[in-house]
């Protein structure tokens, strides 16, 4: 028995080591970015335009560009994604079509980000003649976000007990009325969680916006859907690989803002999720 216990200690030790090998670099990276980037964060950095070839001033246009892209892509993806999830959980029968839809969602989730960029380029920029613009980039990002929203909404809808649906039906409500009044309200927090999580995902993507919307430097903020825009992930790429003389703190600061946005979104989503589950 002692040999087995020793074997167990070694085995568990190995597992612990593996976990540490995962956890410590994560902590190190985040700590590093915060340590070297925090100094750059100032009112000027966050809210003013870049100056001196982007070596001074701020990253406001990149932040705003990212905000625009996120909002518009969600405006497109949320309705379609939620409705698609409703279809899958409330209406779809267990047939070939449903299996194909599920397959398509898995596939969409696994498509490489740069392939999305190519698709966005050929469909929105070239074929539909939207040009390199916010609308092209946002639509591309929206399609990328679709699987995330569908999957999380589906989970949220599934977690609503069938009893609610049955009671609603027995009261004579139609399917849509049941969904609208009995199911959706209870799934709302889960749907919200999914939306917030996809914000984080969309905000950090670079490849899909490379050929659809991203600009190296614009002197003005974008004013319309057909304008180009700067965006945080592309900006970080540019100031890391293409512009000499950028202070190191600016680079880390931009990385910090980017990670910060994604992390804050994740935290908000977690809070919403836990408050909802506590209520249940």
């Amino acid at each position: 028995m002692r040999r087995e216990l020793r074997g167990q200690k070694i085995g568990f030790g190995v597992l612990l080591l593996a976990t540490l090998l995962v956890v410590i670099p994560v902590a190190a990276i985040v700590a590093l970015v915060i340590a070297k980037g925090w100094g750059a964060l100032s009112w000027e950095f966050l809210f003013s335009m870049p100056r001196d070839g982007m070596r001074a001033g701020g990253i406001f246009p990149a932040i705003i560009g990212t905000v625009y892209l996120v909002f518009i892509s969600l405006a497109f993806a949320l309705p379609i994604g939620v409705m698609a999830a409703i279809y899958l959980t409330e209406y779809a029968k267990d047939n070939l079509l449903t299996r194909i839809i599920n397959l398509a969602i898995i596939n969409l989730a696994g498509v490489s980000s740069v392939v999305f960029g190519l698709f966005g380029l050929s469909l929105f920029v070239v074929f539909l003649k939207f040009g390199v613009s916010i609308i092209s980039g946002a639509l591309t990002l929206g399609i990328m976000a679709l699987p995330v929203i569908i999957t999380t909404t589906r989970e949220a809808l599934r977690s609503v007990p069938d009893a609610y649906r049955e009671v609603s039906f027995s009261l004579g409500a139609s399917r849509w009325q049941t969904v609208r009044h009995a199911v959706l309200p209870r799934a709302l927090s889960g749907i919200l969680t999914g939306a917030i999580l996809s914000v984080g995902r969309v905000a950090g993507e670079t490849a899909p916006i490379l050929f659809t919307v991203a600009a190296f430097y614009l002197p003005n903020l974008p004013t319309g859907l057909s304008d180009q825009a700067m965006a945080l992930p592309y900006h970080l790429y540019v100031i890391t690989t293409q512009i000499p003389g950028i202070p190191e703190s600016f680079r880390y600061g931009t990385a910090l803002v980017l990670i910060g946005i994604v992390l804050i979104m994740n935290v908000i989503a977690t809070v919403v999720r836990s408050r909802a589950s506590r209520k249940k």
């Binding site: 003013s48 335009m49 070839g53 406001f60 705003i64 905000v67 625009y68 909002f71 040009g131 309200p185 709302l188 927090s189 919200l192 600009a215 190296f216 430097y217 614009l218 002197p219 003005n220 903020l221 974008p222 004013t223 690989t241 293409q242 512009i243 000499p244 919403v272 408050r275 909802a276 209520k279």
Partner: protein, 299 residues
Amino acid sequence: MERKEARVPVWKTLAAFLAAGSLAFSAVSCGGKRAGSGGAAALQIKGSDTMVNLGQAWAEAYNKLHPEINVAVTGGGSGTGIAAILNGTCDIAESSRDLEEKEIQQAEEAGTVVHETIVALDGIVVVVHPSNPVSALTMDQLREIFMGNVKRWSAFGGENRPIVLLSREVNSGTHIFFKEHVLRRGKSKGPEEFAPAALMMPSSYAIAEETARNENAIGYYGLGYISPRQKVLSVSRDDRSPAVPPKIETVRSGAYPISRPLYFFTRGGPSGTVKDILDFVLSPEGQEIVRATDFVPIR
């Protein structure tokens, strides 16, 4: 029913989110007009990454003289700029190379008249790590190195180290110019290519960075990127000629073998603001900016 009351916060959160969003939108669109002057459509200068800092310096100086005119400068490579001027999606194309036959054909077919102005001169410098004992190479030696035929520094009196080749991406004007003038000995077509093992760096700056920290590296970029962190090689035309260091004088006189004009391409005979910018760029003040950004003024 208690459940309804407990659920209100979620609705409120959603509503607050959307409200915040729309506030942000409106704040931003007002801020947009404040931050950029006048909200007038910007003049677009697009093209060569080599020239992008020069272009931006010109744009900033021009904007000081004419605050109501905004000039946007984007990179993307000479090829991108030329494609944009042919498509009509930019006003001025910056290019570190001349038009190719394909592009001239495209312009003729579309009936576009492309006007070429040489706005500055540039030398392409070859750089190595400061610790590298090699100080001068001939054009033929450069050719052998960058085609991958010679793989160790010892062949040129250096240490017994592997040669790490740093190059630009395939559509970079600098890449194309180096290929045609060094690898292909001045001919625009030929079988010579960069070695497949050459690392394709995203920018001249990336080449500079890697060269500065890698004793094995050799790379090339425009005169404007010279810094004390890399060692600049002198280049001789052949075995019999002296090795010439790249400087403003040697580039202007033609003594330095790897030099090239830098172009502005515009559509039609330039007029209006575009002509004004061209005049500014060629003026003594504009050419002083050329010198200040480490390029070579044309006069």
